[in-house]
């Protein structure tokens, strides 16, 4: 089936540093999403992105977070500066249209020390 790729699979950084998580969505998909999953908890919506703009974000999407997809390349989540509570697995997803099924990447495990 359609595949979403995420790079890197793991990232360990010191608190206060910047990190960029990369997502390569399904090629013909138009909607892109980030979800956050803290160990042992459910996945929670962070943000979605369409036509170069953030369409909706949750309260978990702090001011230190930003997303972009310059010129159809990777869809990125940037955190600057990072905090200890940002440690989690971040899943990228994409869909062809809103309301349609979303396809998920394998996640990036972020550890902030």
């Amino acid at each position: 089936g359609p595949k979403v790729l995420q790079i890197p699979s793991h990232q360990i950084i010191d608190m206060g540093q910047m990190v960029t998580l990369n997502c390569d969505p399904v090629s013909n998909h138009l909607y892109f999403y980030w979800y956050k999953q803290i160990l042992g908890q459910q996945m929670e919506f962070l943000v979605n992105f369409y036509n170069g703009k953030v369409m909706e974000k949750s309260k978990l999407f702090k001011d230190q977070f930003s997303v972009e997809r310059p010129d159809g390349s990777y869809f990125t989540l940037k955190i600057q500066p990072t905090a200890l509570e940002d440690s989690a697995v971040y899943f990228c997803a994409s869909s062809l249209d809103r309301g349609r099924e979303q396809y998920f990447g394998p996640g990036t495990r972020l550890t902030v020390l």
Partner: protein, 114 residues
């Protein structure tokens, strides 16, 4: 706001027995419902999605029926296999909302033993 409730955190059963994982939801609009399955260290994969009320989608022996009257979308399988052991998430997408983000339940870990 939207919410999804999965009452069981862990379901353990013996191979060959029937499976039923509960999912109920609350939504302002008439949502799409989904079941995702996540194996260890893998991406969540779509297992089933709802269609219209009382139509039953099926995949890999699993089926689920959307009942609007009871706001439920329980996942069922007649005979569990060892390979079914995984984490199962019920999720909804608000069709009436502007952007259709997925709202997930807490997930149910299914452990099938021989």
């Amino acid at each position: 706001g939207d919410s999804v409730t999965q009452t069981e955190g862990l379901v353990t059963l013996t191979e060959g027995l029937p499976v039923m994982l509960n999912c109920t939801y609350q939504s302002t609009y008439s949502p799409f419902l989904f079941w995702y399955v996540q194996h260890l260290n893998e991406a969540p994969k779509l297992l089933l999605k709802s269609f219209t009320d009382n139509k039953r989608p099926e995949h890999q022996g699993f089926h689920a029926t959307l009942h609007k009257s009871s706001s439920s979308f329980h996942l069922q399988k007649s005979s569990a296999q060892l390979s079914d052991s995984a984490l199962y998430y019920c999720a909804l997408s608000d069709r009436g909302g502007s952007n259709a983000k997925l709202t997930f339940g807490k997930g149910t870990k299914l452990s099938v033993k021989s």
